[in-house]
């Protein structure tokens, strides 16, 4: 009889545990959607974005998930491939929203972000669109449930130009990738560099996605005797461009558009040897960021995903932490507007939790400084962090106070039109 009771008690326990799991009272899941290129030419880029999210979700879940109105949630990343096809992206988003119940969906390409911004405000099927695209065109579309993750590329244009000018570089030649992003970069750089007084001696774009030989464009560009080359597209072909330019006898420096990563090129294309690159200005080496967690982050990332860490991964990682905290602050995992509104309350982030702490949010843009790295004489040099949204010296100083400092980092002010905070 006593035994029976014991068995019955245990059964009851198991059953109640089961019912808790089933009803979700124990730990529910909040689905974070991702649609992006996972095959085709953009696959590497898409996966970098996705990996950052996956790692963030893992880390958040390991730390106990999030607590919304006393209820525990774990985050689950659900991803679909859209091959940068708008139709597929919309299908995926609809699927994520109505099948999996995702209220936050990430997408990393402007061509698919634009159509998603047409549907993410529809009543009954609204979701928070986390857009990874550095084009200011995103801000041109009015949308209450979109957040854009990276700094505007115009901030990099100005910051890179700034440093190149200091180095005494004047004559530029451009061999930038074709495509929406490359076209905008060239246009912006041409505008800014000539305004500064610099000279552009050649503009020979190349298709970094389909071409494998750039010697035609490079020969033409080098014939104009530039002091430095503005190059870039995806990192691997950019490395190839550097190698081919050196083979053609080019001795000057390189400026990399923000899509190309100097650390990736150095480590993957040149196996850690910086002598070919020699003089480079570009987006900072991830490992040289000043945040406390960066070394740990890089190590774990590269161990888990067997690929080189990238800036995209770091920013996506940090942004998901912001979203998770915002869910807690808003007290909802299902109201995109409320989540977006709460983001400002959970910022700034701290450098001991995320690799690239966000300082704030401005309308739909998350604010993070533009980090510039320099390679000179075959060695990594001091970084620069540009605050691009401060409208005046005062605002800049206030932001600067809160930031992580390090002797290897110089924080600078570089106002970028259209983003100045009141």
């Amino acid at each position: 009889m006593k035994k029976m009771k014991q068995v019955a008690l245990r059964l009851l326990l198991v059953l109640s545990a089961l019912s808790m799991v089933c009803t979700g009272a124990w730990a529910a899941e909040a689905v974070i959607g991702f649609t992006g290129p996972l095959s085709g030419p953009g696959a590497g880029y898409g996966r970098d974005n996705l990996n950052g999210l996956k790692m963030a979700a893992d880390d958040i879940n390991k730390a106990g998930g999030i607590t919304v109105k006393g209820k525990k949630y774990t985050l689950k990343i659900e991803s679909y491939d859209d091959m940068i096809d708008p139709t597929a992206a919309v299908n995926n988003a609809r699927r994520l929203r109505s099948r999996s119940g995702a209220r936050v969906i990430y997408n990393p390409v402007f061509n698919t972000i634009a159509p998603l911004m047409q549907i993410n405000e529809q009543r009954g099927s609204d979701f928070l669109l986390m857009a990874y695209s550095s084009t200011p065109k995103i801000e041109a579309i009015k949308n209450d449930t979109t957040v854009s993750i990276p700094p505007p590329f115009t901030a990099y244009v100005q910051a890179f130009s700034d440093i190149a000018w200091e180095k005494g570089w004047r004559k530029a030649a451009m061999v930038v990738t074709l495509g929406a992003y490359g076209d905008e970069w060239r246009e912006a750089f041409k505008h800014y560099w000539t305004k500064k007084g610099g000279e552009i001696v050649a503009d020979k774009p190349a298709n970094y996605y389909t071409d494998t030989d750039f010697s035609a464009q490079l020969s033409a560009a080098l014939a104009a005797n530039p002091e430095f080359l503005l190059i870039g597209g995806p990192s691997e072909p950019t490395g190839l461009v550097i190698e081919q330019a050196r083979n053609l006898g080019f001795k000057g420096g390189f400026m990399l558009v923000d899509q190309a990563k100097m650390d990736y090129i150095a480590d993957v294309v040149f196996k850690g040897d910086l002598s070919t690159m020699k003089d480079v200005i570009g987006i900072v080496r991830v490992l040289n960021l000043p945040s406390q967690v960066i070394a740990d982050f890089t190590k774990r990332y590269e161990e888990t995903y067997k690929v080189h860490v990238t800036f995209e991964a770091a920013l996506n990682y940090s942004s998901l932490f912001a979203v998770a905290k915002a869910m807690e602050a808003a007290g909802t995992v299902s109201d995109p507007k409320a989540i977006k509104a709460a983001i400002s309350k959970v910022l700034p982030q701290s450098g001991d939790t995320v690799p690239t702490p966000y300082q704030g949010i401005l309308f739909q843009k998350l604010l993070v400084e533009g980090s510039v790295g320099v390679i000179a004489d075959g060695k990594y040099q001091k970084n620069y962090q540009y605050i691009w949204w401060a409208k005046d010296e005062n605002a800049f100083n206030k932001i600067k106070e809160k930031m992580v400092t390090s002797p290897n980092v110089e924080i600078r002010w570089m106002p970028v039109e259209g983003y100045l905070q009141q």
Partner: protein, 287 residues
């Protein structure tokens, strides 16, 4: 002038690749009448197989090249047997769909096995030298020499071996060849083997200079297709000449005109040529 020479050199190197890739395709299209749209993807796979032998197994460049050639040759036979032979009596458009299926398969295969990131093979001949004021990479020179050797070798094979002449006979008159007791299936298999092996050689030579990516075959395949049509289906001189012309046009176009529109000139030229001469420059009267 130096710039011009440099561009022409680049163009010739590219043309060499185009020529040998188109050469393989024209054999398949002319002899078997199969629109093998996946030909560029065989080239891509050739690059990855070379990577496997050099990068993963650590073999030398030349042994890897030979091994790649063999592997791709076998793969070509397999592809003909599995994908195209069952479609012999069906409309060409069905073979075209099968080709699209095959290329999707090959591209995803590379993606799954080797990942989306570009891969590199160490350059066995990284030396450069100056000639007439232009910089010439040794490996680039090797591409040209390799291509010319291959073209010459293939010519000897086609004209002076029994198998080669048989292939030509089938190319000229399939029914007639069949009536004469030629085993057309065996000729098909051999042709496919040669076709994909040549693509593999092109990839092996080029891969140390370039970067491997799963989608690198798509554009090259399309260009090879266009060269074959331009030169006339089944015409070997047409494919070679077409390849070199396209290579030089592209290099000059990319260097002097806009890179964005350089393909427009190539494709536009094709439209014009075909409307003037509807069966290609070296084409037979009516296909």
């Amino acid at each position: 002038m130096e710039l011009f020479l440099q561009q022409v050199f680049n163009g010739i190197m590219f043309g060499s690749t185009y020529a040998i890739v188109a050469l393989g395709l024209t054999l398949v299209m002319g002899i078997l009448n199969i629109p093998n749209f996946a030909h560029g993807h065989l080239y891509m796979l050739g690059g990855y197989i070379t990577f496997f032998f050099i990068g993963t197994l650590g073999l030398g460049f030349w042994p890897s090249l030979v091994l790649t050639l063999i592997v791709l040759g076998l793969l070509g036979v397999l592809m003909e047997r599995i994908v195209y032979r069952p479609l012999t009596d069906q409309p060409h458009i069905n073979a075209f769909i099968a080709a699209i299926g095959a290329l999707i398969f090959l591209e995803s295969l590379a993606l799954v096995v080797w990942g989306p990131q570009g891969l590199r093979i160490p350059n066995p001949y990284p030396q450069n030298f100056e000639l007439l004021g232009i910089t010439i990479g040794l490996q680039r020179l090797l591409v040209i020499i390799g291509a010319i050797t291959l073209i010459f070798g293939l010519h000897v094979f086609m004209k002076h071996t029994i198998l080669g002449t048989t292939i030509e006979a089938v190319a000229q008159n399939r029914e007639g060849a069949m009536l004469n007791g030629i085993n057309v299936n065996r000729v098909s298999a051999v042709t496919f083997a040669i076709s994909s092996a040549t693509a593999a050689v092109a990839a092996s030579f080029l891969s140390p200079i370039f970067m491997l990516s799963p989608s690198m075959g798509a554009i090259l395949g399309m260009k090879a297709f266009i060269i074959v049509i331009l030169g006339g289906m089944g015409s070997i001189p047409g494919a070679i000449l077409g390849g070199y012309i396209l290579g030089v046009i592209e290099a000059l176009g990319g260097g002097y005109i806009s890179a964005a529109y350089k393909d427009v000139f190539a494709f536009g030229a094709l439209i014009i040529i075909l409307t003037v001469k509807p069966t290609g420059i070296f084409g037979k009267k009516e296909a």
